[in-house]
């Protein structure tokens, strides 16, 4: 009880520290900077914090904290703009928001979706802070109770959401998730360093693929291409329905869902080593399971937006626990945050276990600055959402080239290689096919995101368990089947069983008609071939390095099995069966005035030109010709539009100290920035 009694004066000290005009001013400044960076997909808090780092040395601690927290806190809020309005998952915090947020925008209800998302974010952030204020005092033993078997089970719980999102043909969803995991294992294994589906001759592959690129490729590119072919606006509605006020009303009607998801967010965020990747999916799965009428998920169900958005800001708060109490950052931006905290003042704040004993007032200040930053950021965002939602009424052909510009830039930031752009294109192509033939893209993304944690936790838990079993069977079972693990297993089993039963009604990809047999079969065989290659490739790794080969072997095996069964079913089924779902046959894509390949070629041309002339020159050529030829603008208009877009891009890159992809031209001539 003493712990709690001591905390009350610390809490009031914290509020006295925070509620100074100067501190609030710095907080707002941080929030505004964070919002500007956050609307840019793929940059996130790391870029912003790095920008602030040099100013932190010797700065008054509370002011420095206000500035940094203001910036970090709003990134998961503002990246909602990109995911709802354009279907671009800006960061791992907005993967699941895309699923229902973007369809809502297509229905002309972008403002409603946005404000519901922001209200949920705000509520989640505040709930997270309240929960943490008490929880942080007793968090340490609870966090330490989450060992490797527990973390493995949480990861598996996240993976089990595949069952819900698998789509109408469960085996195809499973194969998509398997493919996602296999793509996630590409590169050097973290345990033994063996290469999987990669060679040292292509160092890019040896590094593995980054989440930003996979997210953009699998979700954003197929949507952009599809919309572009139809040559309409994002919103199909005659006029925009659903004002920002409706969104807040939606959130209020689902406040308990929002409450539960924010608790899920804090709790999962607290566990070090998991990060935010699982939270979204668990919250989305929970939203689906607790909704009576599930038929709208994937087509624009507001609860599909409220759930994940409530959890992801709460998760940021939860993530403070491992950061502050253990000095172990839950994300890249938190790592920079720790580094920056040590620079503040005379370095008296030591992140680590001492934070609770010596700096409880600072700890509380951090927690509540985060909450306050959420409030400020959300108010800004809600205020802006009505206006920004009008973007969805603009003819998409005029928006698309700038989206191509944004996603290419975002992809390049992840690895600073030209190969980033090639990978983006390749994954975009994969995404287009997954979408076309109704293979669940969310399942693929879940598989990819959780691939490396599953592998890591599985191998390490297995090793420790085998030591324990050697000691005694009891010690082994006690380790593997702790109460937490058992609870998690039950939740997982229940959610898989419920999920499979419901999956048929939840069309993560919308309703798709079946067409001819040939194209869907060719794609299936392509997936099968890749899985077989991956199996053979993993099989060739030495048995001494079992840790590096076991997961690819098992997953490739499962994927091959699923594909074979679907293949047999396909041979027997009639061509109107759901197995042969094909968007090119019926619906919007089939009726689109422009073909797939000619549209994709525009994007390909941008990348090819970049390879020759570097990004900025290529972009200028691309924008002007696209706007003129495809957009039908007059040359002068096309020029002005392009110049504005490029100027914006240059300003952002300049402010953040970022480079652009170079091409062949740059390897012969040294040009001044931004043409580098």
């Amino acid at each position: 009880m003493d712990v709690f009694l001591n905390s009350i004066p610390a809490l009031s000290d914290a509020f006295a520290l925070i509620l100074q005009p100067q501190v609030l001013g710095y907080l707002v400044l941080g929030v505004v900077m964070g919002l500007c960076i956050g609307v840019f997909p793929g940059l996130g808090g790391i870029a912003g914090l790095s920008l602030l780092l040099p100013f932190m040395f010797g700065m008054d601690p509370i002011l420095g904290l206000a500035l940094m927290i203001g910036m970090v806190a709003v990134v998961p809020t503002s990246d909602t703009f990109a995911s709802v309005l354009m279907g671009i998952p800006g960061s791992s915090a907005s993967q699941a928001t895309v699923l229902d947020g973007f369809p809502l925008a297509k229905k002309g209800q972008a403002a409603r979706a946005l404000s519901a998302a922001f209200a949920s974010s705000l509520f989640g952030g505040l709930m997270g802070a309240c929960f943490l204020t008490v929880f942080i005092l007793v968090a340490r033993p609870i966090v330490l109770a989450f060992g490797l078997p527990e973390m493995l089970m949480i990861t598996i719980l996240g993976l089990s959401m595949v069952a819900i999102l698998a789509g109408r043909v469960a085996l195809k969803g499973l194969a998509a998730a398997g493919l996602g995991i296999l793509v996630g294992t590409i590169g050097e294994a973290s345990a033994g360093g063996s290469l999987r589906m990669a060679t040292y001759d292509i160092p890019y592959l040896a590094d593995g693929l980054k989440l930003v690129i996979v997210g953009l490729g699998i979700f954003a590119i197929p949507e952009i291409i599809s919309l572009l072919r139809q040559d309409s606006s994002i919103s199909r509605a005659e006029k925009l329905g659903g004002s920002w006020f409706d969104g807040i009303k939606d959130w209020w009607q689902n406040i308990w869902l929002s409450f539960r998801c924010s608790i899920i967010g804090v709790v999962v965020g607290v566990i070090p080593g998991l990060g935010g990747s699982v939270v979204d999916w668990i919250a989305y799965g929970h939203s689906v399971q607790t909704t009576k009428d599930k038929s709208n998920f994937g087509k624009g169900e507001i609860r599909g937006v409220i759930g994940p958005e409530s959890s992801n800001n709460a998760k940021e708060g939860g993530g403070l626990v491992p950061t502050l109490l253990f000095g172990i950052p839950g994300s890249g931006s938190m790592a920079i945050f720790i580094g920056a905290v040590a620079l503040l003042g005379s370095g008296q704040i030591e992140v680590g276990p001492a934070m609770l004993k010596n700096n409880l007032d600072i700890t509380y200040s951090i927690v509540w600055l985060l909450a306050l930053a959420n409030v400020v950021g959300t108010l800004f965002c809600i205020a802006a959402s009505g206006g920004i939602a009008r973007l969805t009424t603009i003819r998409f052909t005029l928006v698309a080239p700038f989206l191509f510009m944004l996603i290419s830039f975002a992809a390049f930031q992840s690895g600073q290689n030209f190969e980033d752009l090639i990978a983006l294109f390749a994954l975009g192509l994969l995404g287009i096919f997954l979408r076309r033939f109704d293979w669940s893209r969310p399942a693929f993304l879940i598989g990819f995101v959780l691939s490396s944690p599953v592998e890591k936790f599985m191998n390490q838990a297995f090793q420790i368990a085998s030591f324990r079993f050697r000691e005694s069977a009891e010690a082994g079972y006690a380790y593997v089947f702790s109460p937490i693990v058992i609870v998690l297993i039950i939740i997982t089993v229940v959610s898989v069983v419920l999920g499979l039963r419901q999956a048929k009604t939840i069309m993560a990809e919308g309703d798709i008609q079946s067409g001819s047999k040939r194209a869907p079969m060719v794609f299936l065989l392509a997936v099968l071939t890749y899985a077989i290659f991956a199996y053979a490739n993993a099989y060739a790794i030495s048995d001494r390095l079992m840790t590096d080969k076991i997961i690819p072997l098992i997953i490739a095996g499962i994927t091959i099995f699923c594909c074979l069964i679907v293949f047999i079913q396909m041979i027997r089924a009639k061509e109107t069966d759901v197995l042969f779902a094909d968007r090119e046959f019926f619906g919007e894509d089939a009726d689109a005035p422009y073909g797939l390949w000619s549209t994709l070629a525009w994007f390909g041309a941008l990348l090819a030109l970049t390879g020759i002339f570097g990004f900025i020159i290529a972009l200028a050529l691309f924008l002007v010709s696209f706007l003129h030829v495809r957009g039908g603008l007059r040359w002068l208009h096309a020029l002005v539009y392009s110049a504005t877009g490029i100027a914006f891009m240059l300003f952002m890159a300049w402010a953040l100290g970022r480079d652009f992809p170079p091409g062949l031209l740059q390897s012969y001539f040294s040009l001044p920035w931004p043409f580098t």
Binding site: L53, P54, G192, I328, A342, G347, K456, F467, G657
Partner: protein
């Protein structure tokens, strides 16, 4: 490439007889300091400590950002750095003992060559091994009472810096099972805190930041440090931890452990390669001398700060910092090793862990 442009300018000015160094100006640039480990380890703390100081000391006060590129126990990041050619001063690489060891042991994954790189600064560190409370109670300055305990240790890999603790524990006759694939020493410490591992070691900075608190609250007991080298090359107590015995002392007190012979020589050789000049900052190959000199000068300025001794003792421990030529010498010690020591370790790694390396 804007910078390259500036450099060509700087070089042409230099040939005209002006001091080139003054022309190196990094104003508005972002210098990336790449660390081939995750955000949680000692190298991260090391780089995060130096980055802002370096930023202040470099001409033009560029932003210095620490970037993490973990993977394959740091060979991934080092292989990447080997391919970098942008010697325009916007990229530094921080290697650690875990990068040095695979290089010394001809690990097949190593695609990097230290001789190609340009060292600008090196610092040493120490290491502290500690036990959980239960086995700590049995520790009496020797490992005699620790022989029957099954120890589990979260390890980054047997060919890494972990080789030094693993070999030391083996020489003491202790039964330590490593769990491989841990991504940084911070993750190893967490495994220890969760009770999944019951023995751990941290480099000095990691120990000061995380483990010292565990010792203070009684859930960990320090066992030994690796010690520090005096001017004669003998192992003495670590100045950062004068109260903790060295491995040498513990070994002498333990039945069956000898401080001479093949095993000891090999352990000491790898300790010297891995700790007293453990962390080295490099500029990529092909960097011009002006830029190298600029960075050396900057690190010298950092070292000359009046408050340097004070702030560094708290953050990274009391160890010498080498710049310029001294850094080159430190690199030489860290990347060369006697054949006999290497043979011993290669045999041991194959016997105990099945790791096949070329001799």
């Amino acid at each position: 490439m804007k910078f390259l442009h500036k450099i060509t300018l700087a070089v042409s000015v230099a040939t005209m007889g002006f001091a080139a160094q003054a022309e190196v100006d990094l104003a508005g640039e972002t210098v990336e300091w790449v660390i081939p480990f995750s955000e949680t380890g000692g190298s991260a703390k090391w780089a995060n400590f130096f980055a802002p100081l370096l930023s202040e000391a470099l001409p033009g006060q560029p932003t210095v950002v620490v970037k993490f590129m973990p993977g394959a126990g740091s060979t991934k990041g080092a292989n990447w750095f080997q391919k970098q050619k942008n010697g325009d001063g916007t990229l530094i690489f921080g290697s650690s003992g875990s990068t040095q060891f695979p290089y010394l042991l001809n690990d097949p994954r190593v695609r990097y060559e230290y001789k190609d790189w340009n060292p600008v600064m090196a610092t040493g560190t120490g290491g502290v091994a500690y036990l959980n409370a239960e086995s700590g109670a049995k520790f009496d300055g020797s490992a005699n009472n620790l022989q029957d305990i099954n120890f589990i240790y979260g390890s980054q890999g047997a060919t890494r810096l972990d080789l030094v603790p693993l070999l030391a524990w083996k020489m003491l006759g202790m039964n330590v099972e490593p769990v491989f694939g841990v991504e940084g020493r911070g993750d190893g410490r967490l495994m220890f805190e969760r009770g999944e591992a019951n023995i751990d070691y941290q480099t000095s900075s990691g120990y000061l930041k995380g483990s010292a608190d565990l010792v203070a609250e009684g859930s960990a007991v320090p066992m030994m440090t690796w010690g520090s080298l005096d001017d004669n090359g003998d192992i003495v107590r670590d100045p950062t931890f004068p109260d903790i015995a060295t491995f040498k002392e513990v070994c002498e007190a333990t039945t069956g452990c000898e401080t001479e012979g093949a095993a000891w020589d090999a352990w000491k050789a790898f300790f010297v390669a891995g700790f007293p000049s453990q962390k080295i900052a490099f500029l990529p190959q092909g960097t011009s001398q002006d830029i190298i000199d600029t960075f050396i000068k900057a690190f010298e300025d950092v070292k000359a700060r009046p408050d340097f001794a004070e702030i560094s003792a708290k953050r990274v421990g009391k160890y010498p910092m080498f710049t310029g030529n001294a850094a080159n010498e430190a690199l030489g010690k860290a990347t060369s090793i006697e054949q006999s020591a290497k043979d011993f370790v290669v045999n041991w790694l194959e016997q105990d862990y099945g790791v096949k390396l070329e001799k």
